[in-house]
Amino acid sequence: MKTMNPVWRGLALLLAGGISGYFIGLGLDTLVSKQVNFTAPLAGLFSLLGAVTAFFFGLVGYHGVTRGLVFQTIGTLIGGFFVTGIRALMGLETFGNFFFTEPAWVFGALVGTLSFLAGVGALTDWFKWALGESTPEHHEDEPGWKKYFQLSLDHKVIGVQYTVTSIAVLGFGGIFALIFRTELAASQLQFLTTTFQAFDQNGLQFYNTLMSLHGMLMIVSILLGIAGVMNYLIPLLIGAQDMAFPRLNAFSFWIAVPAAVLLLSALFLGGFDTGWTGYPPLSTRSPLGVQMFFLGVFVAGWSSILGALNLIASVVRMRARGMTAFRMPIFAWAAIATSIIALTATQLIGLSFQLVMFQRLLGMGFFDPAKGGNPVLFQHLFWFYSHPAVYVFVLPGLGVISELLPVFVRKPLFGYRWIAMSSLGIALVGFLVWAHHMFTSGMNEYLRVPFMYSTLLVAVPTGVKFFSWVATLWQGKISTPTPMLFVLGGIIVFLMGGLSGPPNATVSTDLHLHDTYFIVGHFHDTMFGGYIFPFFAALYYWFPKATGRRMSEKLGKLHFWLMTPSFLVLTFAMMRVGLLGMRRRIADYDPALGFDLSHLIMTVAAYLIFTSVVIFLYNFFHSMKYGEKAEGNVWESRSPEWQVPSPMPVHNYQHAFQVVGEPYDYGLPGSKYVEFMKSQEGKG
């Protein structure tokens, strides 16, 4: 075993762990239900947990993430049995369809989450401090790649951890989408039929579960992705040694891992059929899976809130000398705008989901009209976060576009202050528009008009960004390596998302468009243009900074030219069938509508996008080890992180820098953005 490549060892153990987990789960299920069910929920859940834990065990041994997962499993069981014991003493039902009863699962899942954090070591320093022991300011990470699977306080390591986790979650979300996209390729049900059975769900229910999880996993993936990029970059861009609160930073990342496990477990525990919006009363009637979904989002919310707090503190307090507000890299403005929203709005989705959890567990009637509750109240609480959330997703991406554009155009960013202020403007207006998701909901009719006004206002700061980008391109010296291609793709795709927005904002047209595929096309355009494309641009652009190697240009261009046209075709087709009458979130559509060909095209496009991402993944992991060496300023950027060799040294800048000019003065001879200080002056 010693000489075996750890990746192969991990994969071999993944298989073994998956199979043994399956039989443990099957055994437990058989013990309780007294009959053998090969697609038993518990068998699936244990199979997943066993496989993932064994994979990490093979990769890094019993450290870090492996220990966390083992702790989480044991913690969940302890919590579950604790509540089951109490229920037994009270004479209540002890075991149900899913082994534990619902209250036992919820409590177990919470204990499991905390156990994960204890197991991975995210709480260790705080416990030691509480006991009066001191710990070193910095924990030195072991060299090599194993540090990425353990607790680290280095913002660069955490940034990579976030990014890679984000890509893993993206993979799950994408594969789920492909499964149901395949079902949609033709009308009628092909394989997710009513006789299909998996984890206590028939085909239609499984479709809904996959569709709902696709939405939520992608959202979590985006939150992790932006956190990854911001964590890695912000301290480098502002000249800090680390984030303001390194332990909180590690905590924010690691709490997202059990959250992802909880979300995935929903698939096995009966699933849920509410979509990611989880509207009651449907969500109060859904199977157990919906509780795991609520809990997963609740826990992931902590990651987002604490991460945002840390980021704002870092940008406000730790900037290099001379870096006044309007000399910050533009990406820092985007990060601040996004963090303000995440810090102040995320609570509302946690709250709304928590209320439904309580309604299910304790019989409260918050949203139950029979008990004087109001289901529309939930929608207000939910969208008060979930609308601003889309700006959380796109603002960092738009920041990446503004950050990279001047580098490849060799020209200053046109209207820097306007772009900076437009990010804040979007964040601010974003708080005032939530009810535009509810134009058909039966909310107060006249209130729809002010929400229409505020929603349309978003177009103004967004327009400022587009016009300024185009003005930046004008009379530049434009080159188009892979990162720039993704920047341009992002602009075009986000433009499609932006232009398809106003018809949803004006109430009367939205009454037709609401809950149709037009909306699906519209938000996939905004998410891809505002996040996916810039995220890929950022990965291609900063990959050399993190690894000292470059990703292959040839494969990068193939990735771009395969993904962009496929994606545009996909969303155009979505919007077209939506206008013509295709509803959202349906497993099957009426053949009489004549959408079969459109859906077939969409499915093919989805597979092409998937192929392009597989090419990207190969390029990404292959280049880490075998990519062309790139240790200098590969893009001829003025930004401080490119003025030092790659990969970035452990404690960032050996000599502190001070800001002596404008960040994007390309084309101004003799100008400099930063100057490194030789002595220790101004350090800290």
Binding site: L282, A459, F466, L495, D588
Partner: protein, 334 residues
């Protein structure tokens, strides 16, 4: 200067091309209601604006990529322009005026779709997982097909028995959610005779995709004839137990899940149910006699038919007489 002229011409050309492309693509379903007119009018305005703004960004972007690209062997930077405040103010102010104009027109067209005819015909709509029931209060007729007379405003008073649903006939354009515990209103004036499909637009559970109902818009005369026939039918039905039973199961939406023709729905079919032996989820079988059917209606969770374990049938409260009528109706389904 030459650059600006070329770009301006291209913007106009591409705008025209995009708009005619959008028009040629036939992007909206048939226009079958009075309320669709203001909606489609605003759609058209949106398409014009979208075509123009699309061109306004895409043309200079692509133009720059071609004309201002870094040619082979070229080095050096672009022109040092940091910004232009009057320009920024312009492209903040003009869009501001445009979107506020759109908001005004949006409110106006919303108002147009909400015009109230005090003489509107009322239909009570009940939605439930996964069925629609329509009741015409003037005559007491209940139907699972929504018949509407042409050119007459209808006021739908809608409520739900369980979760949130949404009323949408694409050809009518407007959409309205239906909530449990309260009534939402929807006004429509059909203008085009024909057969349409009502589709639930708010995710309501596993069979959401199949929560459909037929909508028929007919002439006033045909509507009156249909209504008279249905009223007569209802009067005749009230005289026999199976007739009353049929009215009850139609009114309560039972047929949304239980088919009468043997096809598999959300729940088991009723064809040949009475007196048959039914396999249950625990492996046993039971004879579908009066007692079993009564229990299944009043306590649907007491026994699950094999293959339907995951379905949560709503609990109904019927009187013993009503249940006897329903059973009499089911008995006729041989």
């Amino acid at each position: 200067m030459r650059h600006f002229v070329v770009v301006a011409i291209l913007v106009i050309a591409l705008s025209t091309l995009t708009y005619s492309g959008l028009m040629a693509a036939n992007l909206l379903p048939a226009q079958a209601s009075e309320q669709a007119l203001p909606v489609d009018w605003l759609f058209n305005l949106q398409f014009i604006t979208i075509s123009f703004l699309f061109s306004l960004i895409v043309v200079p972007l692509l133009y720059s990529l071609i004309v201002f690209r870094r040619k082979k062997g070229e080095s050096g930077d672009g022109v040092h322009i940091e910004g232009n405040t009057p320009l920024e103010i312009t492209w903040t102010a003009i869009p501001l005026v445009i979107v506020m104009g759109f908001a005004y027109l949006g409110a106006y067209s919303l108002g147009e779709t909400r015009r109230i005819d005090p003489q509107a015909m009322v239909v009570n709509v009940t939605a439930q997982q996964f069925a629609w029931t329509f009741e015409y209060p003037e005559t007491g007729v209940v139907s699972d097909v929504l018949y509407l007379p042409k050119d007459k405003q209808v006021l739908l008073k809608m409520t739900s028995r369980d979760v949130i649903h949404s009323f949408w006939v694409p050809e009518f354009r407007i959409k309205q959610d239906i909530l449990p515990g309260r009534t939402t209103e929807y006004r429509i004036t059909p203008t085009l005779e024909g057969d349409y499909r009502l589709r639930c637009a708010e995710l309501c559970g596993s069979n959401h995709a199949y929560m459909l109902a037929n909508v028929k818009v007919v002439s006033r005369a045909d509507f009156d004839a249909w209504m008279a026939a249905r009223a007569e039918e209802a009067r005749a039905a009230a005289d026999t137990p199976e007739g009353r039973g049929k009215t009850l199961v139609t009114q309560n939406g039972c047929l949304g899940c239980h088919s009468l023709d043997g096809s598999r729905g959300t729940g088991p079919t009723w064809l040949g149910l009475y007196g048959s032996s039914v396999p249950l989820s625990d492996g046993s079988t039971v004879t579908a006699d009066d007692a079993f059917i009564k229990e299944s209606i009043l306590q649907p969770q007491a026994k699950y038919v094999a293959g339907y374990e995951t379905i949560q049938m709503p609990v109904y409260t019927f009187t013993d007489e009503q249940i006897a009528d329903i059973i009499a109706f089911i008995e006729t389904l041989k």
